[in-house]
C-alpha cells in the first residue's frame, strides 16, 4: 500500500484521538516507577475490546510510546528508573538535572526517543519479513554471545576502575542465580525461604539500587528545605544540540532496532550497548556519566528503537520479542488478528500498514505531548527535599509492589537500596550491578541450552559464525577499554607530576 494513502487513512480525528488517549495514559502510567509499558498495556487491554482493531492497536501503541517517554522523565529528575532501560538514562540525565539542565535533558531525550521510534518503524515497514528470517538464525548459542557482549559493555563503560566494574557485574550475576532455576524449575540458594523462590526480580532491585539508594544518600545531606534540582530550564532542544547528538542518536536507533528484532533481547541490553558505543566513538569520553548529551541521547534512541524492532518478530512470525509485545499479541488475538506470515500475504495488509502509520503518528504525538507536558511533570522535582525524598521512597516501594502486590518485593527494594547506597559510598558502579542482574538469567539459560543442544560441546560458541563475531567483539571491547583506562590514568599521573 502507498505510504501517503495509508497515512491518509489513519489521519482521521477518531484515530488521532485514540493515539492521544493512549499516549496520555502511557505518560501518566509511566511516571509511576514499576508500572512499565507491559503492565500499562495489560491493564488497559480490556478497555480496547469494544474498539475496532485499528483504533485499539493505535491506542496500545500510544500507551507504549507514552510510557517509554515518561520513564525517562523520572530517570532524569528523580533518579528513579521506570523500567530497566531507564537505568541507562540516569547515567547522564540525572547529572544534567543536578546541573540545572533538566529541561535540556528532557527535550533531548524526547527527540532521541522519537527518532529511535520512527527509525525502527520505518525499518519494520520496509524489511520486516526479511529481518524475521534473520531472527530465526539466532539460536541459544548466539543469544549467549550477545549477552556476553552486553556484559562486556557494562565493564567497559562504567566505573572509575575496571576491577570495580568487574566486581559489581559479578555481584549482579551472582544475585541472578538466586531463586527458581530457569530451566529445571527447582529452587536454588533460597535458604529454605519460600519467598526467595521468586529470586530477585530485577525491576524491584533496580528501583532499589538507583532510587532508594539516592534517597538514603540525600538524607545524609543537611538542610530539609533545600532543593536537589533548582531549575528546569529550556526544554525545546536547540538546533546546535540536535546537530551534536545526531550521530549518537542515529547509531542508538540502529542498535536498538537490531536488538529489538531478536526475540528476548530487551530494552536494557540495547540501551547499554548504545551507551557503550557512544562512549567508545566519542571525542570526550570523560564527560560520560557527568552529563554528556551524547551519553543521554544514544540509549534513549536505542530504548525506543527496540519498540519497533520487537514488532518485527511479533508481526511477521507471531512470536513476541518481550513481555510488552507478548501482551500486544494477546490484544491482537482478542481482536481476531493472528500475527504471523498470514498477516503479510494479503489477508492482514489492511491492518498492518495502518498499524505502521499509527506507530509513526504515536511517536510524533509522544514528541509533541512530551515537550509540552515536560515542564508540569518535571516541576515535581523542584519540591523541597523534605517532601521530595519521602515521595520518592513511597514511589519506589509502590513501583516494586504494584505489578504483583507481593510484599516480598518491598524487601527487595529496601535491601537493594542499602546495597546501592554502600556501592556509591565505596565507589562501585551501580549500573554494572544492574546489567549483571538483567543479563544474568539470559546468559545462564542460553549457555546451558546451547550446550544441551550440542551435546555439551562448548566449541560451538566459536564455530558458529555469528556467535564467534560477537564474542570477538566482546574481547576486543574489553581489551581496548582496559588499555584505554590504563593510558588515561598514566596521562593523568604524568599531568599531576608536571603541575607539581
Amino acid at each position: 500500500m502507498e505510504l501517503a494513502a495509508t497515512l491518509g487513512n489513519v489521519f482521521t480525528p477518531a484515530s488521532l484521538m485514540w493515539i492521544v488517549i493512549g499516549a496520555s495514559a502511557g505518560i501518566i502510567v509511566g511516571v509511576i516507577p514499576g508500572l512499565t509499558a507491559t503492565v500499562a498495556i495489560a491493564l488497559l487491554v480490556p478497555l480496547t475490546l469494544d474498539l475496532d482493531p485499528l483504533h485499539s492497536m493505535l491506542m496500545l501503541t500510544g500507551i507504549f510510546a507514552g510510557s517509554q517517554y515518561s520513564n525517562s522523565i523520572t530517570s532524569i529528575m528523580l533518579r528513579t528508573p521506570g523500567n530497566p532501560a531507564g537505568a541507562v538514562t540516569i547515567f547522564d540525565g540525572y547529572p544534567m538535572a543536578l546541573k540545572g539542565e533538566a529541561g535540556r535533558a528532557i527535550g533531548l531525550g524526547a527527540w532521541a526517543s522519537a527518532f529511535g521510534g520512527i527509525f525502527s518503524v520505518l525499518v519494520l515497514w520496509a524489511f520486516s519479513q526479511l529481518l524475521a528470517s534473520v531472527a530465526l538464525k539466532f539460536s541459544p548459542v548466539e543469544y549467549f554471545s550477545v549477552a556476553v557482549l552486553g556484559l562486556t559493555t557494562a565493564v567497559a563503560v562504567t566505573g572509575t576502575s575496571k576491577a570495580r566494574s568487574l566486581t559489581a557485574t559479578a555481584l549482579g550475576l551472582l544475585v541472578g542465580v538466586i531463586g527458581t532455576d530457569p530451566l529445571v524449575n527447582l529452587p536454588r540458594f533460597t535458604f529454605g525461604l519460600p519467598e526467595l523462590r521468586l529470586g530477585v526480580p530485577f525491576l524491584a532491585a533496580i528501583i532499589g539500587v538507583f532510587a532508594m539508594a539516592e534517597v538514603l544518600r540525600l538524607a545524609e545531606v543537611p538542610g530539609r528545605k533545600t532543593r536537589m534540582v533548582t531549575t528546569i530550564g529550556r526544554i525545546l532542544p536547540s538546533w546546535a544540540d540536535i546537530r551534536r547528538t545526531f550521530r549518537p542518536v542515529f547509531r542508538g536507533s540502529v542498535i536498538g532496532t537490531i536488538v529489538g528484532i531478536l526475540p528476548g533481547g530487551g530494552g536494557a541490553m540495547a540501551s547499554f550497548i548504545a551507551y557503550g558505543e557512544a562512549k567508545r566513538v566519542s571525542k570526550k569520553p570523560e564527560e560520560f556519566g557527568k552529563g554528556s548529551i551524547e551519553g543521554l541521547t544514544a540509549p534513549d534512541a536505542a530504548g525506543n528503537g527496540v519498540a519497533g524492532g520487537a514488532m518485527v518478530p511479533l508481526l511477521s512470525l507471531g512470536i513476541p520479542g518481550d513481555a510488552a509485545t507478548a501482551v500486544m499479541l494477546g490484544a491482537l488475538v482478542i481482536q481476531g488478528i493472528t500475527p504471523g506470515p498470514a498477516l503479510f500475504d494479503g489477508r492482514g495488509a489492511d491492518l498492518v500498514y495502518p498499524l505502521f502509520a499509527g506507530m509513526l503518528l504515536a511517536n510524533v504525538a509522544m514528541l509533541i505531548m512530551g515537550l509540552t507536558l515536560a515542564r508540569p511533570l518535571a516541576s515535581v522535582a523542584l519540591l523541597p527535599r523534605s517532601i521530595l525524598l519521602p515521595a520518592i521512597a513511597t514511589l519506589s516501594f509502590t513501583g516494586a509492589f504494584i505489578a504483583t502486590g507481593q510484599t516480598y518485593l518491598l524487601w527487595v527494594t529496601l535491601v537493594f537500596g542499602v546495597i546501592g547506597y554502600l556501592m556509591v559510598r565505596f565507589d562501585y558502579p551501580v549500573a554494572a550491578l544492574a546489567l549483571g542482574l538483567v543479563l544474568g538469567p539470559i546468559l545462564e539459560s542460553n549457555l546451558r541450552r546451547g550446550l544441551m543442544l550440542h551435546d555439551g560441546d562448548a566449541s560451538v560458541f566459536l564455530t558458529r559464525p555469528i556467535s564467534a563475531v560477537l564474542l570477538l567483539a566482546a574481547v576486543a571491547l574489553l581489551v581496548v577499554s582496559i588499555w584505554g583506562s590504563r593510558r588515561s590514568r598514566k596521562k593523568a599521573a604524568a599531568k599531576e607530576l608536571s603541575t607539581v
Binding site: V39, F138, T180, N185, L198, A326, P341, G405, R449
Partner: protein
C-alpha cells in the same frame, strides 16, 4: 480571633485525620449479610498479560453479573504457580478468595513437596481446556507416530517437568525411545527454535502454531486428547495410532480454599456454571482463541485424580520427583 490563619490550618489537620480514621473503622463494621457482600478476589498464579491471565480475566469479567459481586483479579506469579496456590490454600475459606487452577498444580505437588496439594482446595469447576498436539517441521522425515519408533529427537519444552515435557515423555515411553529435552522460555521461544531448526519437535496447544500448520511449515503427528478434536478432525489421536498415552491437556478452572460453607459454594458454582454457558462469554472466548469446556467440580476433580498417578510415575522416571517430606 487570636489564632492566626496559619495555626488554624494546622489545628484542623488532626481532626481530618481522626475523621478519616474513624470513618475507616466504621466502614469495616458492616453487618454480615448474605454471600456475596463485597469484593471477591481472584488469585491468578501467572503474570499479567499471559494466556492464562487473559483467559481468567475474561472469564471473571462475565462472572461478575451472575455472582452479583465485584471480582478483582490479583496476580501472584512465581515458582511455576506454587507461590499463588500456596497463598490461596492459606486464604480464608469465606468465599471471598478464589483462584485460577491450571495443570501445573498437579505437577508442582510432585516436583516440589512444599507446594499445596489438590486436597487443600475446594474445586469449583473447569471452564476451559486446550488439547496438546505433537509438532515437527514439515521437512522432517516423520509423518505418523509410528515413524518415531527408534528416533532420537531433541524436543523443546517450556520448562523442565512442565506439561509440554510430560506429554512427549509419555509418548516416548510408549514408543520405547529416549529423547533429549531442552527447556525454553515459554512456548513462543520454543516456536522460534522449532521454526529456526534448532530442535526437532515441540508439543503445543493449537493457538500457538495454528498458522504454521495452515501454511505447511509445521506438521502435526498426533494429539494427546482422548478423542479427535474439532480443530483438527483429520488428526488421529495417539491412542488411535496404538500408543496408550494419558489424556494430558491444558486446563483452566476455579478453586477456593478447602472447607467452603455449603451455601457459599452452591452460590459460586451456580454463577460459574451460568457464565460457562453464557453466549457473551463463549463468543469472547472463541474470539480470543480459548476453547471453553465446562466440567463440574466433581468431574474436574475426578479427571485430575485420574491423572495424578500417571504424572507421578512420569516425573519419577524423568528423575524430577522429590521425595515427599
Amino acid at each position: 480571633m487570636r489564632t492566626t490563619p496559619g495555626t488554624g490550618r494546622r489545628s484542623a489537620a488532626p481532626w481530618i485525620a481522626a475523621a478519616v480514621a474513624v470513618g475507616t473503622i466504621l466502614s469495616g463494621c458492616g453487618a454480615a449479610g448474605p454471600y456475596p457482600d463485597g469484593t471477591v478476589e481472584l488469585m491468578i498464579p501467572w503474570s499479567a498479560g499471559g494466556g492464562s491471565d487473559l483467559s481468567a480475566r475474561l472469564f471473571v469479567s462475565e462472572l461478575e453479573e451472575p455472582l452479583s459481586a465485584t471480582i478483582s483479579p490479583a496476580n501472584e506469579p512465581g515458582a511455576n504457580g506454587a507461590i499463588g496456590w500456596g497463598s490461596l490454600a492459606q486464604a480464608d475459606n469465606d468465599g471471598y478468595s478464589v483462584g485460577l487452577l491450571t495443570y501445573d498444580v498437579l505437577s508442582n505437588e510432585i516436583l516440589d513437596p512444599t507446594s499445596p496439594a489438590l486436597e487443600d482446595f475446594d474445586i469449583l469447576a473447569q471452564y476451559e481446556q486446550q488439547e496438546l498436539y505433537f509438532y515437527v517441521p514439515s521437512d522432517s522425515p516423520y509423518e505418523t507416530a509410528a515413524d518415531l519408533e527408534g528416533s532420537n529427537l531433541t524436543v523443546g519444552t517450556s520448562g523442565m517437568g512442565g506439561i509440554d515435557h510430560q506429554a512427549p515423555a509419555a509418548l516416548a515411553r510408549e514408543l520405547g525411545v529416549e529423547w533429549e529435552y531442552v527447556p525454553f522460555d515459554g512456548q513462543a521461544d520454543g516456536l522460534t527454535n522449532l521454526l529456526g531448526g534448532n530442535i526437532d519437535a515441540f508439543v503445543f496447544t493449537p493457538t500457538v502454531a495454528a498458522q504454521y500448520v495452515e501454511d505447511g511449515t509445521l506438521r502435526i503427528l498426533g494429539t494427546f486428547a482422548s478423542e479427535r478434536t474439532e480443530e483438527y478432525p483429520d488428526t488421529a489421536t495417539f491412542v488411535e495410532q496404538g500408543y496408550d498415552v494419558p489424556p494430558i491437556a491444558s486446563f483452566r478452572g476455579i478453586a477456593a480454599p478447602a472447607g467452603l460453607d455449603e451455601e457459599v459454594r452452591a452460590t459460586l458454582v451456580e454463577a460459574i456454571e451460568t457464565t460457562a454457558q453464557d453466549e457473551e462469554y463463549l463468543a469472547a472466548a472463541a474470539e480470543a482463541g480459548n476453547t471453553p469446556r465446562y466440567r463440574t467440580g466433581e468431574d474436574f476433580e475426578a479427571y485430575m485424580n485420574e491423572l495424578r498417578p500417571t504424572i507421578a510415575d512420569l516425573l519419577q522416571e524423568m528423575g524430577l520427583a522429590q521425595a515427599a517430606g
